[in-house]
């Protein structure tokens, strides 16, 4: 049963300054489904549009980001809604926090630096639920924190008194306190120390086990995907080029880009020479014709330059957008 269905989503940044019109085709025809209770990862290099995809899907899009076409349908416990149809900020706010929650990249974006953590929690919960009963509030928060292995002492501190890792974990606790059905995380582990990163990943896993929510995780770090996600989608230049179960992708990737991506990662204990993917991702204002990867692909042919390959299912649950597959068939 899918909790989120995205169909043919197109979201561009359109800006106009002094006569220069600029169209950044960040999300250019993306379709995918996320199943209930799974951890779904969206991977890709910077500039591929994954963060924009997240923004467009969770209803946080603001000008200059414009959604040109497509559907984003949520199948919550009690209702189904097309989030793009919600014009009212109020309606969007209602689902935020309770049904959908966001974990942003920088914890300091969420925690008010001049307020104690406790206050931030109160503000957040108070915005969505009525907390008249002080005891009830405390017990709810206490239970949540202890389930996550966080000390109650943290509540009395100011954000700057905590270490970076602790702050990030508090932010995650805050984002999940109302037991949202879906949690969106945009690069939650980037810029964190490696030990803290591990702590954060373990925390996310713990929460998911406890609350049985669905997690959609965006990061460029393939190793994090390997350790955390059930299924992943690889994005390139605004489109999804491959999608599948995490073992399938890591052991049997089909798209040349995915393969290049995996081969360029260093592994501990292995000093054998490795190479980066050649060239660099295209600018989203000026994408190549046909398959967007063809300038960097060693298997590209004339066909690849002319036509855009569609994301098609090759095996059970494994989708690829590449003409190579068709040829091989």
């Amino acid at each position: 049963m899918s909790i989120l269905e995205v169909k043919n989503l197109k979201a561009y940044y359109i800006t106009q300054k002094y006569g220069h019109i600029n169209k950044v085709k960040a999300v250019d025809g993306v379709s995918f489904e996320v199943n209930k209770n799974e951890i779904y990862g969206i991977a890709g290099e910077s500039g591929c549009g994954k963060s924009t995809l997240l923004k467009a899907v969770n209803g946080l899009s603001k000008p200059p980001l414009q959604i040109l076409e497509g559907e984003v349908i949520y199948n919550f416990e009690d209702r189904t809604m097309n989030i793009l149809g919600l014009k009212e900020e109020k309606q969007r706010r209602e689902i935020r926090g309770i049904s959908i929650s966001n974990v942003p990249q920088g914890s300091m974006n969420v925690l008010n630096p001049v307020r104690r953590i406790e206050r931030s929690f109160k503000d957040f919960i108070g915005a969505h639920k009525n907390i008249k009963d002080k005891e009830k509030f405390e017990s709810m928060v206490r239970k949540h924190l202890s389930a996550l292995g966080l000390d109650w002492d943290v509540m009395k501190a100011f954000p700057h008194q905590l270490s970076g890792g602790m702050r990030q974990r508090v932010t995650i606790a805050l984002a999940t306190i109302l037991k949202p059905e879906i949690v969106f995380a945009d690069e939650p582990t980037t810029a964190l120390d490696v030990v803290v990163q591990r702590g954060v990943v373990q925390l996310i896993k713990k929460i998911k086990k406890e609350q049985k929510n669905t997690v959609i995780m965006v990061t460029h770090d393939m190793a994090i995907h390997a350790n955390l996600c059930d299924r992943i989608a690889i994005m390139y230049a605004g489109k999804i080029v491959e999608e599948g179960d995490v073992d399938v992708i890591f052991n049997n990737a089909l798209h040349p880009y995915t393969r290049l991506l995996l081969e360029s990662l260093p592994r501990m204990g292995d000093k054998s020479p490795r190479v980066s993917a050649p060239g660099s991702p295209p600018s989203l204002t000026n994408v190549p014709s046909g398959c967007r990867f063809h300038p960097r692909c060693k298997y590209s042919s004339e066909h690849c330059k002319e036509e855009i390959p569609e994301l098609k299912e090759v095996k059970n649950g494994h989708r690829v957008a590449c003409f190579l597959e068709e040829v091989e068939k």
Partner: protein, 286 residues
């Protein structure tokens, strides 16, 4: 630069309006040099004549043609504004840059000096000076005096911009590339500081015009020189408002308002255009 002006004219309505109005005023100022009347004398023409084809804006109770007077007033106010603004900019830039770049004890001394100027109630001081110098006050003297007092806020502004620029990593890179301090200031930092200076200059002109009007209304400047302020002064002296001589009092008031608004429009549109972030976006698109 001309490309910039063209672009601004085409796409930014505010700049367009401001540019047209100020160009018009400059034209007016040039024309005023050809005034057929002696602008300092009274009784050049019949008094209190209403608007007519001979006296396009009528005449005032001192026997002066309002139209020609108004044009001269525009010229004088603009000159005053520019002179005073330039003087105070130069002081602000020198002090601000020096304090920012040298730092340490120089910074402390300069900023203390600077802050004392911010704290001094400018207005009473100017009134005091103006009343002492009243007899020898002419436009230039007035401009210099106002200029000597108008730099304190902006010096701090420039200094803080420089402090932040000093910390940027590209400053380190420039140092490591062997560039001398002078070169770093000129090539690395100036592109950030210039938009600030331009906006600050235009804002200062506005302030100076306002200051002149205030001082003149209080009768503290050389009242025979036609400026926006002195026109208002005389019209009030002769009860123009009560006597219904609207052409006399409204002319300088409307000119003042229009002038200030158009300067403001210019200031905001230019500084937005020159803002490094806007320029970055435009670079990316090309």
């Amino acid at each position: 630069m001309f490309k910039g002006i063209k672009e601004l004219l085409k796409y930014d309505k505010r700049f367009l309006i401001g540019f047209i109005v100020i160009s018009f005023f400059i034209l007016v100022s040039i024309i005023s040099l050809f005034s057929p009347y002696n602008l300092r004398a009274w009784n050049q023409v019949p008094r209190d004549m209403p608007v007519s084809s001979q006296y396009l804006l009528g005449t005032n109770s001192l026997g002066q043609d309002i139209l020609w007077r108004a044009m001269a007033a525009v010229k004088n106010s603009l000159i005053l504004g520019v002179v005073a603004a330039v003087i105070s900019r130069v002081i602000a830039i020198i002090l601000g840059l020096f304090a920012g770049y040298k730092g340490g004890i120089f910074d402390r001394i300069i900023m203390t000096f600077n802050d004392s100027f911010i704290v001094i109630p400018l207005f009473p001081v100017l009134i005091l000076i103006a009343s002492i110098l009243r007899s020898s006050m002419n436009l230039v003297v007035l401009g210099v005096i106002i200029g000597l007092f108008g730099w304190a806020w902006d010096a701090r502004l420039f200094r803080s911009q420089i402090l932040s620029l000093k910390e940027r990593e590209f400053t380190k890179t420039a140092l490591l590339s062997g560039m001398s301090s002078g070169k770093i200031i000129a090539k690395e930092h100036l592109p950030y500081i210039i938009p600030l200076i331009m906006a600050a200059t235009i804002n200062n002109i506005i302030w100076v015009i306002g200051m002149e009007v205030t001082l003149s209304i209080l009768g503290l400047t050389s009242l025979n020189i036609p400026t926006i302020g002195t026109m208002i002064y005389w019209s009030m002296e002769y009860q123009a408002l009560f006597l219904g001589r609207y052409n006399w009092i409204l002319t300088p008031v409307i000119i003042c308002i229009v002038l200030i608004i158009s300067l403001y429009l210019l200031s905001t549109s230019i500084s937005k255009y020159l803002d490094p972030r806007t320029r970055l976006q435009m670079i990316e698109e090309e």
